[in-house]
């Protein structure tokens, strides 16, 4: 019974961690792609300031993606 409860808690944590990690990485990476796409468009339209802001968003989102992936691997593979 106790074993089942412990595994139930671990299963719930698995569900939570998977959902948070999977969805957050996807979201942040898609923000990075949004930033790149906007940067390309805005640069073509000769709006350097807005293009720079979009590039900054893209860079920050890419860094955030890398950070989430690294932290995720370290946390999930250490016990």
């Amino acid at each position: 019974m106790i074993a089942t409860l412990v595994e139930g808690k671990e299963l719930l944590e698995t569900v939570g961690a998977s959902a948070v990690a999977g969805i957050s990485v996807t979201f942040v990476f898609s923000v990075a792609i949004w930033g790149v796409a906007r940067f390309v468009d805005l640069s073509r339209n000769e709006r350097p300031l807005a293009a720079g802001a979009a590039a900054l968003v893209a860079c920050l989102a890419l860094l955030a993606t890398a950070a989430i992936v690294l932290v995720g691997i370290i946390v999930m593979t250490s016990k």
């Binding site: 999977g22 990485v25 790149v36 796409a37």
Partner: protein, 367 residues
């Protein structure tokens, strides 16, 4: 002496299983990257192979579960482990020949449970461990991957839906290099450990290791090498089923399904759940497809895969039990495992030769 010979056969068979596991599961890891054009097949497979190798060294939680929490190590003998491995390998080859991405992990656990029950009755099985650490996660994992991939792709389309498709597709293709790599790493952490667990179980059963021991380094290194070599050699037949026949994917769907799969497998590895990577990645693919358009998923093909999943545990258990019965015909010594090994190898060679004779692709079209 006799038990040492059996142990050597078990270790060899376990590594052969690990090789077929990599061979069989290459598709799960690389199919989406290949089908969306994110990576060339040879590059994707080579990368998956290297990351599987690296992943095998990262954790030993799953190995501990397989060695200690599924069957009762007190009643297990190396011959039981051997018969279980034969059940798993046979089932892997049967599903491979039909191009079905069934679960190598469940085949392994089914095979060992079947041979243990045949040898020592149902007392040999640790029911709590089997249900709590294998069966329930087996049900939850693909549904979880389905949901995470579905939610992820929904978010992606909301964020980048109004942008030019060219830039977005290119971006997600780059992303797939990372998500595919993560999936390969996750695959190595979970799948290679099952073989480590089985070898450790055999070493404990033989008295070479104490109860509850962790896998020694040589076990980890040999399991990592076997799965990496298998991954490098295998997969084309099932790549086709996984990568194109379930849904036709775009790069964003590939990214979300691989990301969901990697997240679910890594989280499960952390808690020592021996998951089926096949179930998880196929769940993710279906989730990414269904979220975009429910009818985009070829549910008939998906149904065949589910059928293979359901059948895997009992079928591998039955073959494992049969293999144990065959082994015991020749007594309790090394003769049984030697005869069954020779018979199994002959059967495999005959099947491959027949396929080659009929002109069916063998090596490069495996899976």
């Amino acid at each position: 002496m006799s038990s040492d010979i059996i142990l050597v056969i078990v270790v060899g068979t376990a590594l052969a299983f690990d090789f077929t596991n990599g061979f069989h599961d290459t598709a799960n890891v690389v199919a989406t990257s290949i089908s969306t054009g994110a990576a060339r097949p040879q590059v994707a497979i080579a990368m998956a192979s290297l990351l599987n190798f690296a992943g095998a060294f990262i954790s030993i939680s799953v190995a501990a579960t397989v060695a200690n929490d599924v069957v009762n190590a007190d009643v297990i003998t190396p011959t039981i482990v051997f018969a279980g491995l034969i059940g798993a390998i046979a089932w892997n080859l049967i599903t491979w020949s039909f191009g079905l991405p069934s679960s190598s992990s469940h085949a392994l656990i089914g095979g060992v449970v079947g041979s243990a029950v045949a040898a020592a009755g149902f007392d040999a099985v640790i029911a709590d461990g089997l249900v709590g650490k294998v069966l329930i996660p087996a049900l939850i994992a693909p549904v979880l991957a389905f949901a995470v991939a579905g939610l992820s792709i929904g978010l992606i389309y909301r964020v980048v839906g109004k942008q030019k498709p060219g830039t977005v597709t290119r971006g997600f293709k780059y992303g797939q290099v990372v998500s595919g790599g993560l999936l390969a790493l996750a695959h190595g952490t979970n799948d290679a450990q099952k073989t480590m667990g089985v070898i450790t179980l055999a070493l404990i059963a033989n008295g070479s290791l104490g109860a509850g021991s962790d896998p020694p380094l040589w076990v980890i290194a040999s399991a990592a090498t076997a799965i990496a070599l298998g991954t490098y050699s295998g997969g084309w037949r099932i790549i086709k089923t996984t990568g194109t026949r379930i849904i036709k994917m775009d790069a964003a769907q590939g990214f979300s399904s691989q990301g969901a799969g990697a997240a679910v497998i890594l989280a499960s590895t952390h808690f020592g759940f021996p998951l089926s990577t096949t179930h998880v990645i196929n769940g993710g693919i279906m989730g990414a497809g269904a979220a975009k358009r429910f009818s985009a998923v070829r549910w008939g093909v998906a149904g065949n895969i589910v059928f293979a999943w359901v059948l895997t545990l009992p079928a591998a258990a039955a073959i494992g039990a049969l293999a144990y019965g065959l082994t015991r015909i020749f007594g309790t010594g090394a003769l049984g495992p030697v005869v069954v090994t020779i018979a199994s190898l002959s059967l495999i060679v005959a099947v491959f030769a027949r396929r080659a004779e009929r002109g069916a692709p063998v090596a490069a079209s495996s899976g």
